[in-house]
Each structure stands twice: as C-alpha cells, then as structure tokens.
C-alpha cells in the first residue's frame, strides 16, 4: 500500500504542509551529495529519530512501509560487498533509506488536501484556471486510491491462479488485471459524476 495519512497523530501533523514539502525538497536534494559513511549514518539516524518522536506505533507503521526499500538495500549492499566497495554501497543504501524515509514521513503526516493546497496555490499563482486545478486535485486523489486497490486486485488474481496451479503466475495475469482496472475506472467515473455536477 502506498503511504497514506497515518491514523496515529504525531506532532508533524500540525506543521504547515508547505514547510514540510520545502524541507523534504531540500533534504532529498542534499542527501544526494552525501558521500561519507559517518555523515550518512548520522543523517539516517536523525530520520529514524524523527519517526521515534512520532511514537512506537507510528514508527512501526513507518518501518512496515519501508520493508521493500530494506530488501533493495540488502541486494545493493551484497553487490557492493562482492565487488569490494562496501563503503560506497553503504552510503548509497543509507542515502536511499534516509530519502525514502523522510518522504514517507511527510506523506504519513500530511493530509492529502493540505499537500495539494500547496500545489494549487502555486498553480494559481502561475495562472492555471480553477477548473483545471480542481481536476488535477481529483486525479491525484484518484491515483492514490487506485494504486492500493490495483495491488489488492493483483493479489486476488494471484490467489485464483495458485488455487489451480503450482506454477508461478507470470505475465498472463496482466490482462485480467488490466481489465479489472479499466472496469473500475468506469465505475468510479460514475461515482464521480453522481456527486460532482460536471467537472
């Protein structure tokens, strides 16, 4: 599931979204220029600490969201160990964990509409029409909702496959998944129409 606003309240929820986004931008940018193990460790530690401040359950939720990144990190580390550049590998991995970690933290503590309000204000300033901005806001919300739903449907199809075969499901599940997805798009379009009075 993509990171969504966490149900556990933290001090970060109250910070203004614009400030959080700006900080995240600067941080993500800066992180790419880290190149010593010591500094990278310190920065990653700081991100971990930031989760800790949010409380135990919040931190656990954050950890769960990071699981795929940890896997990736292991692979990269193994590769760099194999070619004998463990320090370089460690920096890359820590950079990754710190950057994704903070991105998740911002997402988990920022309501989507607050996040979008920032973007909307920016767009308004450069003269984008209100109608176009409303559509944009809606599409963003929809992507965030559709992604976990698609992932769930994919998981269901994998079960249907495993119920009748011992082989691994492969690309053949892509078409039924695409169909389920396209049909959902139609149904959600109706739901949207039912409550929007024209976009």
């Amino acid at each position: 599931m993509i990171s969504l606003t966490s149900e556990y309240r933290t001090p970060y929820h109250a910070l203004p979204a614009a400030a959080k986004l700006l900080a995240l931008c600067l941080f993500t940018f800066a992180v790419f220029y880290l190149d010593s193990v010591g500094v990278a460790l310190a920065v990653t530690g700081a991100v971990a600490l930031a989760y800790g401040i949010g409380g135990g359950r919040f931190a656990r939720q954050g950890l769960r969201m990071m699981r795929p990144v940890f896997w990736m990190a292991l692979i990269i580390l193994a590769y760099h160990l194999a070619i004998g550049e463990w320090a370089g590998g460690l920096v890359i991995v820590l950079r990754l964990i710190a950057a994704v970690g903070l991105a998740n933290l911002v997402t988990m503590t920022t309501r989507l509409d607050d996040m979008l309000a920032v973007v909307e204000r920016g767009l308004a300033r450069i003269g984008v029409s209100e109608r176009a901005r409303r559509r944009l806001a809606l599409s963003v919300a929809l992507v965030i909702r559709f992604t976990p739903v698609l992932a769930q449907k994919g998981a269901r199809l994998i079960e249907a496959w495993r119920a009748r075969s011992v082989k691994r499901p492969g690309w053949r599940l892509l078409l039924p998944l695409a169909l389920l997805a396209v049909d959902d798009a139609d149904r959600v379009a109706e739901a949207l129409k039912a409550r929007s009075g024209g976009l």
Binding site: T5, S6, L112, A141, R145, R187, A191, S196, G197, G198
Partner: protein, 232 residues
C-alpha cells in the same frame, strides 16, 4: 419517466418505458440483467436516455446536473466503487463543495453528519482502515450529507452481515428522502409502499409488496427448479 428508450453499447435495455415513481419507498426486483442497474443510472441522471426524459422533482436529471446533485443521490453496491478519496473527511466534503459550499462550510457539515451517526472521530480516518460495513456507512453518509430528495440504492446490502443489514435498513426506513431500493433480498422491501418487478427492460408487475413479492418468488422457485440452466 416518460417514453424512455435507452441502449447501452449497442444493447437495447429499455424501449418506450413509462413509469411514475411518486411513492415514498419503492422496491425494484428482477433477474440478473433485467435492467435494474441501468434504470438506477437513468434515475440518478448518470446516463441520458436516447429518447424520452427522466425527471425527478421537476429536474431533468441527465441535463441539469447541478440541480440533480441536490435532487437525487445514489448508493452503489460496492463501497470500493463509490469511495473516491483516501480519508473520510475528504469523501464527505467532496459532494458538498460540488454543491457550491466553501471548504470551511463543507468541513462543518461533514463533521455534523459524523456526529449524527455517532462517529465524531472519523473525519481524519483513512478509508482503507475501515471494515466493509464501516465503508458502507461512509457511502451512506456521503449521500445523506448532500440532502437529496430521493435516494437510489443499488443492492446496498450485498455482502453485509445480518446485523448490519438490519441496522442500515432501520436507518434507511427512518430517513426523510424518498427511497428507490434495488435488491435481490425480498425481505428487506416487504414493508415498502410499492414494488416493481422488471423483466427484460419492461415492467412485469407493479403493486404492493404483498402482491408482487409472492408472485416473483413463486416464478423464481419454479424457474430454479428446472434442470437446464437454459435461461442463465
């Protein structure tokens, strides 16, 4: 509904249907594919008829979408097809801002309805963390908060447990707006003012539940008793 004709993707669903649904609570029954969902879409103004017109409370719902919003609300079978936003508050606020309210007013009204349903803490709750029954309730609140004069329900109970069904039923019964309730669960519309049995896009029977439901059930059990699946 006057002289209604409607085809979907080349499939003629209704031709020349006339129906006046003035009663407070109307049930609609019929076999799979008889046209119930397409009728719900027409009544809610989600599709425009090819010929004829659908008017609800004087509003031609397919044309005047803005007015239709305060006239008719629709509740789909599956909450996952209805819920658009990641949090409950956003979901409830969406219809209200479409009706022209500003953000603050929409927020207040959304909080109001949450309070009325004893769910004051739900405003910031992410939808994915709610159970199936809870999500049904969110959909219902999202429709009610827009205060429509008529609510169309397309199989709202399918997949819900008995206790939840009974409770939502009581809530719906106590509501002010008129109800049009599509269902395969005959018990749930036993106390309604009127029941319509649709068959292949036409009204097969139309009357009080006491007449229509037993006739429908008898025919279904008879068809169900045959061996051949021929009409599936």
């Amino acid at each position: 509904m006057r002289d209604l004709s409607y085809a979907r993707d080349g499939h003629q669903v209704f031709s020349g249907l006339n129906l006046d649904l003035a009663d407070h609570r109307v049930g609609i029954i019929g076999r799979n594919g008889s046209g119930k969902t397409q009728m719900a879409r027409l009544i809610a103004g989600l599709a425009a008829p090819d010929a004829g017109a659908v008017t609800v409370g004087g509003v031609e719902v397919a044309k005047d979408r803005k007015a239709a919003l305060s006239t008719v609300g629709i509740l789909f079978q599956n909450p996952d097809h209805q819920i658009i936003f990641p949090t409950v508050g956003e979901e409830l606020g969406f219809g209200l801002t479409s009706q022209g309210l500003d953000k603050a007013a929409a927020r207040d009204k959304a909080q109001d309805i949450l309070a009325r349903f004893n769910r004051p803490g739900w405003y910031d709750r992410p939808v994915y963390a709610l159970s199936q029954g809870q999500r049904h309730l969110v959909c219902l609140m999202a429709v009610l908060v827009m205060a429509p004069k008529l609510i169309v329900l397309d199989e709202p109970y399918s997949g819900l447990d008995l206790a939840t069904t009974v409770r939502l039923g009581r809530y719906l019964d106590a509501l002010d707006p008129g109800l049009i309730h599509i269902t395969h669960d005959l018990h749930s519309i036993g106390g309604y003012d009127r029941v319509i049995w649709l068959d292949q896009g036409e009204v097969r029977m139309d009357g009080v539940p006491g007449d229509v439901l037993p006739a429908y059930e008898a025919e279904m059990r008879d068809r169900g008793g045959r061996d051949d699946f021929a009409d599936l």
